[in-house]
């Protein structure tokens, strides 16, 4: 996965991964969706692994704990992929 992904594609991939993991329709997941409202802590932990695999990035536990909404996750991934080292560390 390269850093050439357009933002809209990142958002689509994130929402698709969340919907797939939680077994819900993509339309049920929006940028405003809060992780605490749509999943439990185990789902969220597995989602972080899924994002790491999907975008070939690394998300620390500390960073993950600050991701409250789907938009937070999308923004983090965009920032990380846009950065020089492809990592938030």
């Amino acid at each position: 996965m390269s850093s050439q992904l357009p933002p809209s594609e990142i958002e689509a991939k994130v929402i698709e991964a969340i919907a797939d993991q939680l077994g819900v329709a993509k339309s049920d997941v929006t940028r405003a969706s809060e992780f605490d409202a749509i999943c439990d802590s185990l789902d969220k932990a597995e989602l972080m692994m899924e994002f790491e695999d999907l975008f070939e990035i690394s998300i620390t536990d500390e960073t993950a704990s600050k991701l409250l909404t789907v938009a937070d996750a999308i923004d983090l991934i965009q920032r990380t992929l846009g950065g020089s080292n492809g990592s938030d560390r």
Binding site: Q21, L22, G23, V24, S41, L42, E46, M49, D53
Partner: protein
């Protein structure tokens, strides 16, 4: 003889998932027809290094009517089996367990010999391949041996005692016996009890094969499980679950429940002999049956049918036949004893649950499920094993034997309700 008066416990619901039926009713129908559930292995690829290439797998298992797709990913096959069987049992008993009564009077005990070993193996493979940060957070809730009762308690809002029993192939027997006692002593009114197993995995199959415990009749899988036959060469690994609704008698009567039979006795012993081999005289099995009948305050002559542990291993079957002949004396030649593992194979910790169905139905329906593949009974095996074809008989008392690695022996006594 009992010195304490117990509350009485009856069976009001039955549920099962097996390789011969997706429900308890279908499983019983297949048993009466002598159908084998053994087939060439499909779960994982095998090369010629594998000495055993068949098993009693459940094909096309679909729990979607009980657990939605999202939840399915969080739950191992072993607990999904239990949840599907519990769903059927509760529907069958006609009591809205989830919403009726005091949830603290409802509980569950579900046995499993091995638990979520498929999850354990897949999780370990992932750890080795991708490192510790990629191990799924669902590994522990999936693999733990108590995942089945944990999930079933959530499924039906059971807030009374909820636990697992792990005593290898005797797990279901212990689960049902202990659940009976919980109702008898007044702690609960309804218990979901039984066992579940889903251990047809590369590690488990190869390990049982290394013990030389399994039949290697690869060229004829449906003939491989042949309890009491002189050509038996080991058991056939299988999987499945069965759950009974155990209910206090007055509770059942008050709601006009259909009663299949009464559970009246539980006997349990340990061989204290060898971790995997049976005591050749079947002393522990003998005592388990004796104690179960004592608990039931019944004489051995009352017993009309025994669902044997009968795994089709050379030593195990001999020990059980020896114990039965010693305990029952001349009556051993009057009663009938069959092994339905001849059809289902050996579902380890689920075996006792699945086999409670033919024990209960021998009383309720008057039909004895056969021991199939019994072409030539072994030397000295001169009992009525219900060879190859079902028989009809009026049975008032039936025993359900389960014995496990570790030297665990359990015998349960079911009795016609009157």
């Amino acid at each position: 003889m009992r010195t304490v008066t117990h509350r009485r416990v009856v069976i009001t619901g039955i549920g099962a998932v097996s390789n011969i039926g997706t429900t308890a009713a279908a499983t019983w129908e297949a048993m009466k027809n002598g159908r084998s559930g053994i087939s060439p292995l499909q779960s994982f690829p095998q090369n010629e290094d594998w000495t055993v290439r068949f098993a009693g797998e459940i094909h096309n298992f679909d729990p979607s009517h009980v657990v939605d797709g999202r939840e399915q990913k969080r739950i191992d096959r072993v607990a999904l089996f239990a949840m599907v069987a519990a769903h059927e049992a509760v529907q069958d008993c006609g009591y809205d367990l989830k919403n009726a009564g005091d949830p603290y009077r409802h509980g569950t005990i579900i046995g499993s010999g091995i638990g979520g070993v498929l999850t354990m193996e897949e999780g370990h493979t992932k750890l080795l391949q991708t490192g510790p940060r990629r191990v799924s957070p669902f590994v522990v809730p999936r693999l733990m041996v108590n995942a089945a009762p944990g999930n079933v308690s959530i499924q039906f809002n059971l807030r009374g005692p909820s636990t697992a029993v792990a005593s290898a192939c005797a797990s279901s027997g212990h689960a049902m016996g202990m659940a009976m006692q919980i109702i008898q002593r007044g702690d609960c009114d309804v218990m979901l009890a039984g066992g579940s197993e889903a251990a047809i995995t590369p590690l488990t199959l190869s390990a049982f094969a290394s013990m030389k415990a399994l039949s290697t009749r690869n060229d004829d899988p449906t003939k491989a499980s042949r309890p009491f036959d002189k050509d038996r060469d080991g058991f056939v690994l299988s999987e499945g679950a069965a759950i009974l609704v155990l209910e206090e008698l007055e509770h059942a009567k008050a709601r006009g429940a259909r009663i299949y039979a009464e559970l009246v006795g539980y006997g349990a012993t340990g061989d204290a002999f060898h971790i995997a081999a049976p005591d050749e005289q079947g002393s522990g099995a003998f005592k388990a049956m004796e104690f179960a009948l004592r608990d039931a305050a019944l004489a051995p002559t009352a017993v009309g049918y025994i669902n044997a542990h009968g795994t089709s291993t050379p030593l195990g079957d001999r020990a059980e036949v020896t114990a039965v002949k010693r305990l029952f004396g001349a009556h051993a030649h009057t009663l009938a004893m069959s092994s339905t593992k001849s059809m289902t194979g050996h579902a380890l910790g689920a075996a006792g649950g699945i086999e409670s169905i033919p024990a209960i139905m021998s009383i309720y329906e008057g039909v004895l499920a056969p021991t199939i593949n019994l072409d030539h009974a072994d030397e000295g095996f001169d009992l009525n094993f219900v060879p190859n074809t079902a028989q009809t008989a009026k049975v008032d008392v039936a025993l359900n034997n389960t014995f496990g690695f570790g030297g665990h022996n359990v015998s349960l006594v079911f009795k016609r309700f009157s």
